[in-house]
Every structure is written in C-alpha cells, then in structure tokens.
Amino acid sequence: MMQINKSAKQLLAPIVSNKRVGQYHQIIINIGDVAATCKPGNFVAISVGGDSSRMILRRAFAISRVSTSPTVGGTMELIVAAHGQGSKWLCAQGEGVVLDLVVPLGTSFGIPTEPVPVLLVGGGYGSAPLFGLAELLNSRGCRVDMLLGASTASKIYAPMEGKRAVNSMRIYTEDGSMGTAGRVTDPIAEIIKDLNVAVIYSCGPMPMLAAITKIADQFDVVHQCAVEESMACGVGICMTCVLPVANEDGSISNLRSCIDGPVMDGSRVQWSKVGQQL
C-alpha cells in the first residue's frame, strides 16, 4: 500500500488574489516554501466555512500551478468551480483571508525520461493542472499538444499564457460555443497516429477518462489520468475515496484515490466497476 505524500504539511496560508475567469475562480495562495515541494498532479485539501461551519470536511482542489517570486514568495494557483456550499464559500473569500490547507497531497504525473511526444487532455476545470505539467514537459524537450473540452465556452479554462508551453491547443465544446463542436475524445485516435504520441495525460470527468483509456489501450499508449472521487479526508485514513484498480496478478483492489492517486495508470483503473460491489 502507498503512503501519504512525504511532503504533506498542514499550514495556514493567505489568499494573494481571487479573480473570476469564465465560470471559474482563479485563486492564488501564498504557501511559501511548500510551493517547491508541489508537483503537477498533486492536490490541496482546504478547510471551508470558517470556525462555526457545519461543513466538517476539507475540499480537494488540483494545484493548477506553483511559482516562486522574490516579492511574494511561493504561491499556488487553483482553478475553482463554484459547485456546492464549500466551493462557493472558497470562491467568495478575498485577498488576505487565511486558509487552512494540507498540501501537497497525492501522486503526481510521471515525467518521461526521454523527450517523447505527449498529448494532454483536459475536461472543464480539469485542464487546470495540465498547464503546469505542460511547462515541465516542455522544459524536458517533449512535444506537447493539448485538447480542452467542456459542455460550453464558459467552462473552458484556457489561460493566455497557457499556450506558451504547448505546440498546439484545440478546444471542443458540446454546444459548439467555442472551438469545434463535439467531444474532446473525438480527435484523439487521429492525433496519436499523426504525432506518434507516447503518453496521454488527462484530467476531467470520469466518463472522459474512461473513454480516453479505451483509445489509449487500443494504441498501447501510456495513459496517466488524474481522477476525482469524493474524499472525506484526503490523507488516506478514511477509505471513502477508493477506485477499483487491477493489480499485477489480475485481481482487483479498491485503492485510495487520495494517496494511490489522484494520478493513476488509466489502463489499470476498472472504469466499468466504479460504483459496483467487487
């Protein structure tokens, strides 16, 4: 069994800025030295609602990007969708508000040792952690292509600077309100063949990850996906966040997506067994 991220720390950290971007909030938090220990794919668990909140559990968010500057120190960027009460509370917190965090948590995306062509696929706010990843892959000499998809334009997260590190970026919306009308999975097979893609990195809703796994398996391409399961603790102690994953011997185990994930080998996740009794 895996252990918790060795760098995980609990800390109080102030919000540096909180800006609306489409349907999301871009929240930048000063986490000082801890920023240096965060890797693409890691997530943060945040207490929400304040001291007298009836929300007793932390909320998990992917770390979109970290950076260090001599003036502000180490910061972490989150892209947050106002979903239920906890994320709405977070989106409403302004500059200077101090958050209670546990960070960094979980596994990170594996980086190829060789400079191979890679494809990054993001659904909705799932694109957030892919930009930090793209920069890293780019710096290692990989050719990086990116596909972003969502139901509609306002749910596409694609910052200007994000394009710097990628070779191409294509956008798909189901209603055609931005980019090509259709699903982000539509062109993947084509791209794998054209560009000789060695690794697919993905983050987004589970049906998207499952569909990508199918294509990746077909072409025998490595598929590293960041999953999202309901999490009570985020640190591996509650066993609520499990996903069925194939072991070496073919048996299936319920692994914790908070410490054996969120980044997992897509081909080992048993997507059809999610939510079923093993």
Binding site: A8, L57, V102, T240
Partner: protein, 313 residues
C-alpha cells in the same frame, strides 16, 4: 502546582494519555505519522480487521451531512494475517500503544481472530466491534441483540484468556443500551467503547436515489455528540467501575472533557481527524489544559464528575 496525571487504564492496560484514534479513522497509522509521532497520543485503535481480506462496499462511500458525515466503507481491509504481518510491526516500531479492533460475521470468526491475537506481542487491548451483521441470525447486527453480543464477548474471553483486556464496542441504535452493556460486561468485557456510528441515509435529490453505494451509512461527527454523551452518561451511571472509551463527534478539548465528565476514561477521535489530521494532538493538549484549569490533579478524578450532585442541589 502538581503536574496533572494524564494517564488512564483499561483493565490492566495503561496509557500515558486518554486520547485514541477511533477504529477505522486512522487506516494503518502510517498516514497520520506524517503529521505527528504516533507514540505521543494515548494509543491507536486499528481499523476493524476480519479473518479474510475484504474490498468493502461500492462508492460513493461518503456523504457530508450537517455537522456530520455518513460512511459506508463496509470494513475494507487486508484480513488478519496481512494485518499482523505488516501493520502491527509498523505500529510497534513507532512505539505506539495498540488496541486491535476485530470484527466478524459469526461468533466463531471473532474467536478465531482472538486466537490469532493471543500470542502477538505489543498489543495493549482488543476492541471487539460487534456492530456487524450476524450471518447466523438473519443478518441482525450483533450489537443490537443482547444475547448475540454476550456470546461474541464470551467467545473472545474464553479464547484470549485472562491477560489481554477486552473492550466491547457498542452501537447506539438500540432500545436499551444499558442492558446490552451489562450483558457484555458479565460475559467478560473489561471496558466498553461507546458509540459506533448511528445508522443514517442521504438521498441525492438530483438522481433521486440513495446517495451512498451501500444505501445506508453510519453517521459520525459533531452532529451525534449529544447522543454519544448521553450513551456514556447512561452506561457509566449503572456501571461506574467499567472504563469507557467515549467517542462520537469529539473535535476539541472541550468536547473531550464533556465526554470524560459524562463517564469516559478515555476518548477516541474519528471524523475530526478527517477535517484536521492533527486534531488528536490539539485535543490532547487542550484537554490537559482544561483539566488543569479546573484544579484536577489527575484525569481519573474527572471521570464521571457530572454524576456527582452539584453544590446547588
């Protein structure tokens, strides 16, 4: 000012502090060790272990509720052999005090588990989680049936011999908790753990179906604290000599003190650790301070204090 004696005992087991992890809320212990040394708390109560490995119930396994949460893990775990091979040695190495929680589907399974634990060194006590469905009796939960509860404890007692203290963990979902408590004590329990989760359910108003994969789940967290305090108070009133490990929604030193005043000799912290991985350490420190502030020189003086007539009366 004399230093506070913060220690507690359950049967012949001694613990330097009265603060424990609640069963199932600390996994193997390794994960919390990232945040504080395990030996600094009273002890680790391990996740209930069964004979064989289990993959548990389908997801979703949790739902947050107002000041609480539901879980339906279904006792996922590696089984007793892997547990003894991997988890116990790790905890021993960490110098943690260990209470092993066991669970079974038959009276016999509990005894079998006890047999495997008998000769394991480094274990301070056994907690017997009887909130499991009894496959021999219409799936009725052991802890909801006085007779079945007694038989489980009796079986464990006979197997384990007189050495290792046995703590029976009871469910609050019963009409007469006190009689069940009396029964298991007569059958040989040295202590009681109160309370396990309360049966609950959430329906997802979007899918319009039960939210949890397992449909029902166990309610824990601050929402149930008043139920837990009442349970501890009721049982301590009739069994004042029996140490109780009190749990259910403890999230601060104040909450821990409340449980101790009600009659608990120790407290276990479950759900609070999910929201705050260092909760146990803060609770321990705050509790120490609160006891000292109130002029207690030992934890034991405070146990059950709320039962004494107040000056006014």
């Amino acid at each position: 000012m004399t230093a506070l004696d913060f220690s507690t005992t359950i049967g012949n087991a001694w613990f330097p502090a009265p603060t424990f992890t609640a069963s199932g809320c600390a996994s193997s212990g390794r994960e919390l060790a990232q945040f504080f040394p395990l030996r600094e708390m009273g002890g680790v109560v391990t996740k209930s272990v069964m004979s064989k490995s289990r993959s548990g119930r389908p997801t979703p396994r949790m739902a947050e509720t107002p000041s609480g949460m539901l879980n339906s893990i279904g006792l996922q775990g590696p089984g007793i052999d892997a547990f003894l091979a991997k988890d116990v040695p790790y905890l021993v190495e960490q110098k943690a005090r260990i209470i092993v929680s066991i669970a079974g589907e038959t009276v016999e399974e509990y005894s079998t588990l006890a047999r495997k634990l008998r000769s394991v060194s480094g274990i301070s006590a056994i907690e017997v989680n009887i909130s499991c469905p009894n496959v021999e009796n219409r799936g009725l939960v052991f802890a909801c049936d006085p007779e079945a509860s007694r038989r489980v404890i009796d079986g464990v007692r006979r197997t384990i011999g007189g050495e290792l203290p046995i703590i029976a963990k009871l469910s609050p979902d019963v009409t007469d908790l006190v009689s069940i408590a009396k029964g298991v004590v007569e059958a040989g329990a040295d202590g009681l753990a109160l309370i396990n989760t309360v049966l609950g359910m959430v329906i997802n108003v979007e899918t319009m179906r039960p939210h949890l994969g397992g449909k029902t789940g166990g309610l824990s967290g601050p929402a149930i604290r008043p139920i837990a305090v009442r349970a501890v108070y009721q049982v301590h009133a009739v069994l004042p000599q029996i140490p109780i490990l009190g749990m259910g929604g403890i999230a601060s030193g104040k909450d821990a003190l409340e449980m101790i005043l009600a009659g608990a000799s120790g407290v276990a912290i479950g759900t609070a650790s999910f929201g705050n991985p260092t909760a146990i350490m803060s609770i321990q420190n705050e509790l120490k301070q609160l006891l000292t502030d109130r002029g207690f020189t030992s934890l034991k003086e405070a146990v059950g204090f709320a039962h004494r007539p107040s000056e006014r009366e």
